[in-house]
Amino acid sequence: MTMKKLKAFLGKNTVVPILVIILLLAAVFVPGFLTPRNLLNVLNQNAVKGIMAIGMTFVIINGYFDMSICTLISLTAALSCGLQSSIGLVPAILVSIAVGLAVGAINGFLVAKAGINAFVVTLALMLGCRALSYMYSGEQSILATNDLFTDFGMGSIGGLSYISILFIVMVLIAFYVLRFTPHGRNTYAVGGNAGSAFNAGINCVKTTFINFVICGFTGALGGVLFAAQSGAASPPLGWPDMHMLVIAGVVLGGTKLTGGFGNIWYTCGGIIILGVVSNMMNLLNVQTYVSTLVTGVIMIGVLYLDKVLTERKKKAALANL
């Protein structure tokens, strides 16, 4: 790769230089950061969030966002833990996933077909899931009784957790879908310019609907995996800001909230940035709330930088005309 090409690549994929800078900072200033064990830890700790961010990436490239996963995860965590003793592990997981698909389908129908604002729709579903979760669990934590379930949640191969492996596999699948399937390409077209997508004969309603269902799926799976990881489902899981952290990861990577631009690698980068920052704070023994504050500041910083870089690129392009 020539220097010029590299520069163009970095200019377009701003998440790469930003991630490099943060990793360098962490490596230099945070003792204990640059050990294989800690790095694997970062991945293992953020894999579930990453899985949820995969579905969110589809919805955001499509030009919308989904807040309902915030409490959907608490509902599916409770269902998967609570049902496994009565109907068995696999059916319990299947029911949980089905609930996620149903929530995604309702989101998708209301946003794509009925044309209701995604903020309102997914907010309503978020509240609904929260209520259902509390009703089902009776405001009590539910312990997972099946050992297989918790073994999977806590197990690992050579330091890499099973969940991280699942995350990596799902990222590859998402990459394939976004890059090589008509649905993936249609998602970009619909998010970028719904009018011309429609004129080109693309079914915009179907595309958006499917993407919300995908997001419901990864959200539900996230809930199940959280339960497996901790061996229990607690009702406040995810509340109040899990959806925001997931959306932040996607957007931090460079995927545009306005739709039409982004990819799954950006999302991985964004999730890793969030993970590294929180890991740094941990290692430095910073108070949790200070850490949250720092995360917020970094988010604004990164997005502002991205805006400045893109504006400059745009100006340079105009000057060339």
Binding site: P182, Y188, A197, N199, K256, G260
Partner: protein, 505 residues
């Protein structure tokens, strides 16, 4: 079927009625293979409507004749159907997905597949073939947003070519192109022509029409009024076919003697938008600005109102050099601006008539930091009578009023500030004929009462009907000024359609 060999397209006796308007009345058009047919006519003459009927955006009325495409009668319900058949309409506004690659945009909705996955290799190589054919330097992998406008337009055309277009309709394709880019477009048109594609070229620019077209079809009031072979005619033939409309009697012209100068503009320039604009407006005078959409008319007025910053030039209000940096300054300098899109920029749609009409005056209606609501009722009552607004009550939400009454509220809102200069940009757009006449009458009355009024319009009868003086604008330049008897359709058309490249330097 005798004409299959000669004509790619024949449209016979097409009618199209919109509520209250007969947009097309027995329109006909025929197009040969490998021919460039120029379509001329004023705004609203029916050119675009006819093309939209052809491409399935609109459906012609039931009593219309037929459309024969390659000898077969066709009827399209959507542009997608027409496109699949090879009739491609390229609008003025591009419809590309900005963040996707050139290749994907060209094959949007019909990407090549292999083993159930998008075949990027084939997509990019197919695209390269199309681009080479057009001589377009862009690479299939370039993102659309990184290309200059002219190349983006090529991509739109390339899309049509990739679909195997037999008929290509270009609606004002050069409006955002530079001279060099235009030549480039013309090269492509000639190339396509040599391959047998029939091209309909809609334009207002006469020099372009003479350069590129084989035949010219002129429209007026939804009917073809002239059909020529380009080689056999001169400019006047086209102009003669375009004019000849009778001016309806419903116009009202300000009859007063103009007074002292209110606005003087000298050498106003904004790079790439307008250049060296000088004019003046006096009290008791209606000055018209006539030109095509996009000629720079609105931008000049926005500059006077402080919304845009000019690169050079001075503006004098009432003889004093004005220093208007934003709209608040403009209001303080007693300038009122009725913008062209009243729903987005002129009104708060969910609020009542009363609240809307009192809006501009609100800063002056405060009592102890609160708005004195009582006064707003007085204001509403005053302007309700003065402007003849018909609204069931002062509390009626503005969104439920007719376009004409909405416009009266917008004008009334400015009148509450007693402006010296009132600028009206397309004051009767989207307003029915009866209310139009009311608005025109109001404009004349305002001028007679001592105001200086500027009216921008792309409707010729309107501009001729209301103005005492007219400046014509084309491509960001004032091309001419007409007053009194000089205001004729012929003069106006000539002044806005002749591209004066020399002046532009």
């Amino acid at each position: 079927m005798s004409n299959t060999n000669e004509f790619v397209l024949e449209m016979k006796n097409i009618n199209k009625t919109f509520p209250g308007v007969k947009a097309l009345n027995g329109a006909c058009l025929d197009l040969r293979y490998g021919e460039v047919l120029a379509l001329c006519g004023e705004n609203g003459a029916g050119k675009s409507t006819l093309m939209k009927c052809l491409s399935g955006v609109y459906q012609p009325d039931a009593d219309s004749g037929e459309i024969l495409y390659q000898g077969k009668a066709v009827h399209y319900n959507s542009p997608i159907e027409a496109k699949k058949d090879g009739i491609v309409l390229i609008f003025q506004e591009l419809s590309l997905v900005m963040d996707l690659s050139v290749a994907e945009n060209i094959y949007l909705g019909s990407l090549p597949m292999k083993h159930g996955r998008v075949d990027w290799k084939k997509l990019n190589s197919d695209t390269q073939v199309v681009l080479d054919k057009l001589g377009c330097p862009a690479s299939p992998k370039d993102t659309i947003s990184s290309l200059p406008i002219a190349q983006q337009q090529m991509i739109e055309i390339a899309r049509g070519i990739a679909l195997g277009a037999k008929v290509l309709i270009l609606d004002e394709p050069t409006s955002s192109l530079t001279e060099r880019e235009k030549n480039y477009l013309f090269d492509i048109i000639r190339k396509l022509q040599s391959e047998g594609v029939g091209i309909v070229y809609i334009s207002h620019k006469m020099d372009e029409i003479f350069e590129i077209s084989d035949r010219v079809l002129v429209f007026r009031d939804g009917q073809p009024t002239g059909k020529f072979n380009t080689k056999e005619i001169v400019l006047d033939d086209i102009v003669q076919a375009m004019i000849g409309r009778t001016l309806d009697g419903y116009f009202h012209k300000c009859q007063a003697e103009p007074g002292e100068e209110v606005l003087r503009v000298e050498g106003l320039s904004l790079r790439g938008v307008y250049k060296d604009i000088s004019f003046n407006v006096r009290r008791r005078e209606v000055v018209g600005f006539y030109g095509l959409v996009g000629a720079g008319r609105s931008e000049i007025m926005e500059t006077i109102f402080g919304v845009r910053k000019p690169d050079a030039g001075t503006i004098y209000m009432n003889g004093q050099k004005s220093n208007i940096r934003n709209s608040v300054d403009a209001v303080r300098n007693k300038i009122g601006f009725v913008t062209e899109n009243r729903k987005e920029q002129g009104l708060v749609l969910d609020k009542s008539c009363r609240e809307n009409i009192a809006l501009a005056k609100l800063p002056w209606l405060q009592k102890h930091g609160f708005v004195d609501e009582k006064v707003t009722y007085d204001i509403y009552n005053e302007y309700h009578d003065k402007m003849r607004i018909s609204s069931p009550s002062s509390e009626q939400e503005i969104v439920y009023l007719s376009g004409g009454n909405q416009q009266k509220v917008v004008i009334g809102k400015w009148l509450t500030l007693a402006p010296d200069l009132l600028i009206l940009d397309e004051p009767t757009r989207g307003i029915d004929v009866g209310s139009k006449s009311e608005i025109h009458k109001l404009i004349a009355e305002l001028a007679e009462s001592g105001m200086a009024v500027i009216v921008i319009s792309s409707e010729m009868p309107e501009i001729m009907g209301v103005s005492n003086r007219i400046y014509t604008i084309a491509q960001g330049l004032i091309t001419d000024e007409f007053a009194g008897d000089e205001i004729t359709e012929e003069n106006l058309i000539k002044a806005i359609t002749i591209t004066e490249s020399a002046k532009r330097a």
